[in-house]
């Protein structure tokens, strides 16, 4: 009789063979040449997600007309119970039907939310323009690439005012494998090097132009709080008002700190880190993780690679001194569809034996970081 291991290895061999028989994707368009650069990569990702989620028979009436961008939100279409979808990392909020679900990152866009069944969607990403073009130059290059690489039927484009910010708005139809989607794309000037791209799409044959235009009219953009700020090690100070402190000295780590007395053992999510504490409650909430890692896993480059593999984006980092020991501290923005809080400040503190005390403090966007700052200001090396 076949054993589990024999069966598993036969199944694995079959899977390897089948994977090897499948064509290698064309990587020509991923050529990392400076000329094409990141815009191309993002455009590719954008195209992929559009393809992914959609495509359309473009039924926009008069394509020669400028798009009617409504500066202030109109009423929700009949039967729609609106809800606010806020993406603090992007400084974006937009109204969508209340039964839509965030879909996380996909194919290069960092954020998405979709209807169920998936007949309409919103995608968003913050895209740096390293070429330093103006908004029109950026949007024109993006449109040209989309038209060259995809079966796009370009509709009207115009400059517009979106929540008081200059934006380039473009409507197009995308056809693929006999499917069609109608898409309105907003490329919004954030005032810095970054462009905020918001894509609002609908799938035919349902036809939800009113919904798509209403969603577009509700886009609000704020500056991305803290994303450009440096990260520092705060000066030690007493606990915030109303916080009762208790010392936490996780075993082996070589570090102690003060925590709010009501924090509980464990993290809000599954983790292999043995030492974890989190604020009481459910869902995304502040937490701290602590571990002692050897030089290979604990050095800054290795830790950064691990974060990037989880989809994190490093906002800032610094070399600091913690209780007399050299350390690095970095602030990361993590994917928001996880229960792990989206903002994570991670320390790697060098210990005398070459190991690192690695401590991560996470908190959801919008949460006052005062408690988190106080916790990290209290770090005491015990090893």
């Amino acid at each position: 009789m076949t054993t589990l291991d024999e069966r598993a290895r036969a199944a694995a061999a079959d899977l390897r063979d089948r994977a090897g028989d499948r064509p290698l994707p064309d990587v020509g368009s991923l050529d990392p040449s400076p000329r094409r650069g990141r815009v191309l990569a993002v455009a590719l990702a954008a195209a992929a997600i559009v393809v992914v989620l959609a495509a359309v028979a473009f039924t926009v009436g008069d394509r020669d007309d400028d798009i009617d961008v409504i500066a202030s939100p109109g009423p929700a279409p009949a039967g729609i119970e609106p809800a606010t979808w806020s993406v603090d990392e992007l400084g974006l909020s937009v109204q969508v039907p209340g039964d839509w679900e965030p879909g996380g990152s996909a194919a290069g866009f960092t954020h998405s939310i979709v209807g169920d069944p998936m007949d309409a969607y919103v995608l968003a990403a913050l895209v740096p323009d390293h070429a330093g073009r103006d908004l029109d130059g950026f949007a024109t290059a993006r449109r040209a690439w989309m038209e060259a690489e995809l079966d796009v039927d370009a509709g009207a484009s115009s400059e517009a005012d979106v929540d008081g910010r200059l934006a380039s708005v473009w409507e197009y139809t995308l056809r693929l494998s006999g499917r069609e989607a109608v898409v309105t794309e907003y490329v919004i000037d954030t005032g810095g090097q970054d462009r905020l791209i918001v894509v609002v799409g609908e799938l035919l044959p349902v036809g939800q132009e009113e919904l798509r235009r209403w969603i577009g009219s509700t886009i609000e953009v704020e500056s991305v709080a803290g994303s450009g700020a440096p990260v520092e090690h705060p000066v030690a100070e007493g606990p915030p008002d109303g916080v009762e402190p208790v010392e936490w000295a996780p075993p082996v780590v070589g570090l102690a700190m003060d925590l709010p007395a009501d924090w509980e053992p464990g993290a809000p999510f599954e983790t292999s880190v043995p030492n974890a504490r989190s604020a009481p409650g459910e869902g995304p909430r502040p937490f701290v993780l602590a571990s002692r890692l050897g030089a290979a896993a604990g050095n800054p480059a290795a830790r950064a690679a691990a974060r990037e593999a989880e989809g994190g984006v490093q906002e800032a980092s610094a070399e600091v001194v913690v209780d007399g020991r050299p350390a690095t501290v970095a602030r990361w923005r993590m994917p928001v569809d996880e229960v792990a809080a989206a903002i994570q400040v991670e320390y790697g503190i060098e210990l005398e034996d070459g190991a690192y005390a690695v401590v991560t403090i996470g908190y959801p966007p919008g949460v006052d970081p005062t408690v988190a700052d106080w916790i990290r200001s209290s770090f005491r090396v015990t090893d």
């Binding site: 036969a10 079959d14 390897r16 992929a48 996909a106 194919a107 998936m118 896993a297």
Partner: protein, 167 residues
């Protein structure tokens, strides 16, 4: 990784690793369409960071971790699966053909960490220590997940409970 002092190109890296990554993605997902989408996302992530990743000893481990991480969210997986169908249209009859669909369905039903570990164990014949390095987990954790995965698979598929393998 540098070869003869020259940095490895992304193209050669992708050509060398694509089949293995795709097989891993298929093992931790539910269809070839979803696996191809996961694989594309993972290689895109590597491409966008290639200046740094090219210098890693094992850049393939980075891509496998991305696949593993991106495969775990239920909502994301649902969106991706639906999206992949939208992208590709109705799959041809042979699209999700595998020789032992019952086995891979049982793998897909495992908790995520067990799924990742058992996929690397059987697909890539990696010892526990290497799996721990790839997934950046403690060896003891990987060993525990592997043992649990094999017990669960044996139960689900009607095999005798496997002996502990220690390698």
């Amino acid at each position: 990784m540098a070869v003869d002092g020259e940095p490895r190109s992304f193209q050669s890296f992708m050509a060398a690793e694509h089949a293995a990554i795709l097989a891993f993605a298929r093992a931790v997902s539910r269809s070839w369409a979803e696996a191809e989408d996961l694989t594309q996302e993972a290689f895109l992530a590597a491409y966008q960071r290639w200046d740094a990743i090219a210098s890693y000893d094992k850049p393939g481990a980075f891509v496998r971790r991305v696949v593993a991480n991106k495969s775990v969210s239920g909502v994301r997986r649902r969106v991706r699966a639906a999206a992949a169908v939208e992208r590709l249209g109705p799959p041809p009859a042979h699209e999700d053909e595998v020789a032992d669909p019952e086995f891979w369905a049982a793998v897909a039903a495992l908790p995520s960490q067990q799924r990742h570990v058992v996929a690397l164990y059987y697909l890539e014949d990696r010892p526990v220590a290497e799996i721990a390095q790839v997934l950046e987990r403690a060896e003891g954790t990987v060993k525990a997940h592997l043992a649990a995965a094999r017990r669960n698979l044996a139960e689900a598929l009607g095999h005798d409970r496997p002996d502990e393998e220690d390698r």
